[in-house]
């Protein structure tokens, strides 16, 4: 899932600027699971901004909407339609959501969250990055632990000399990914894999070629099929 966190309210206030009618748009998928942009967070921010507006006589009119996802055109369109009388949409979705809504909206869409990484909850309220989206996954070689995202130096063959008692030298709170890889391979009875040197990664599918696009050929609609579908909508 995508991990994000709410921007400081002072920053949100400055982003809103002189706009008065604000639609706060929540996302019930990742942003909700990381407790940054679900229904509850939308209600909280709505009340907080409303209170700020009342105190400063700004006359903001704030409304709320949440959809299952913002990162699909169908949902994004529903949010944009709801915003017809608003000056701006403040999205509590990830950066992808903001862009999807902006594509179909005639009014500005502003980000209310800072989108951070691909990861998941370690425990309630604690989210850890797990994948760097390198485009050439080698988790089968590293005991199911990603050295790109979880090793501070993204080393493909580790650990480095900074690994101490399972912790990474950058921070005593940070687990050393390569220690974790060792422990996991041991648990899986596959320690011999560590004697193999992992060759340099193929970085071509990473960000070197600009924005990445994945095409599932069999799933792409033909022009005729698109027309039929559009007619049904």
């Amino acid at each position: 899932m995508i991990i994000a966190e709410r921007k400081p309210i002072s920053e949100i206030i400055s982003i809103i600027g002189n706009n008065k009618k604000i639609l706060i748009a929540g996302c019930r998928s990742c942003a909700s699971v990381c407790m940054a942009g679900g229904d509850r967070e939308v209600a909280t921010l709505s009340e907080a901004l409303g209170l700020y507006s009342d105190l400063n006589s700004l006359g903001w009119e704030i409304s709320e909407i949440s959809k299952e996802r913002q990162c699909e055109k169908e949902w994004a369109r529903e949010i944009a339609e709801e915003a017809s009388s608003a000056d701006v949409i403040l999205s509590l979705g990830c950066g992808v959501g903001v862009q999807f809504i902006q594509e179909v909206s005639g009014i500005p869409v502003f980000p209310g969250l800072n989108t951070s990484n691909m990861g998941g909850p370690e425990e309630q309220g604690i989210y850890l990055e797990k994948c760097g989206g390198c485009g050439d996954c080698t988790l089968h070689l590293t005991g199911g632990i990603c050295p790109i995202a979880r090793c501070s130096k993204s080393m493909l063959n580790g650990p480095c000399g900074g690994s101490q008692n399972g912790k990474c030298e950058i921070n005593p709170d940070t687990q050393c990914a390569w220690d974790a890889i060792y422990q996991n391979l041991k648990r899986l009875n596959c320690l011999e894999m560590l004697s193999e040197i992992i060759p340099p990664k193929n970085w071509i599918p990473s960000r070197s070629g600009g924005p990445r696009k994945i095409i599932r050929k069999e799933m792409v609609l033909s022009e005729d099929e698109k027309k039929i579908k559009e007619g049904l909508e």
């Binding site: 400081p8 309210i9 002072s10 206030i13 509850r40 209600a43 909280t44 709505s46 009340e47 907080a48 409303g50 209170l51 700020y52 009342d54 105190l55």
Partner: protein, 130 residues
């Protein structure tokens, strides 16, 4: 100070204790469990004119539904941060865990809160806090 208004949000179990304390100029919002509280409810209370909010629930570990009072504490901490961010003192929001026979603790906290409100002023003059 007679005209400050303080909202007490409590759980059903504490309702009688809160009412017995007969706190002047207060309003009581009783929820089935403090776990039902959320940030928006507290913030809305300030928007509706509360000078301060006290959240009162049972002693931690004694919640009928296990952890409602822990959830409420996290919620209160979060709202305090939000209040500070928008220029309202977090001192206006307190949480108290008490047993049903400890109404005196609530009375004391209420008196302290009145002092806080007296010092900080009403929401309509909150500008002075910033």
């Amino acid at each position: 100070m007679n005209d400050c208004s303080i909202l007490i949000i409590c759980c059903e179990k504490m309702k009688e204790t809160v009412e017995r304390a007969s706190l002047e100029n207060s309003a009581v919002l009783a929820l089935p469990c403090l776990g039902r509280i959320d940030e928006a409810v507290i913030l809305r209370a300030f928007r509706k004119g509360a000078d301060a909010v006290i959240v009162a629930g049972c002693v931690e570990g004694n919640c009928k539904y296990n952890s409602g009072n822990y959830q409420a504490r996290r919620c209160v901490n979060e709202v305090r941060d939000i209040l500070e961010e928008i220029g309202i003192s977090g001192e206006r929001l307190e949480i108290l865990n008490l047993s049903p026979n400890q109404a005196v603790d609530l009375v004391n906290l209420f008196e302290n809160m009145k002092e806080v409100v007296l010092r900080l002023g009403h929401p309509d003059i909150l500008g002075a806090e910033r």
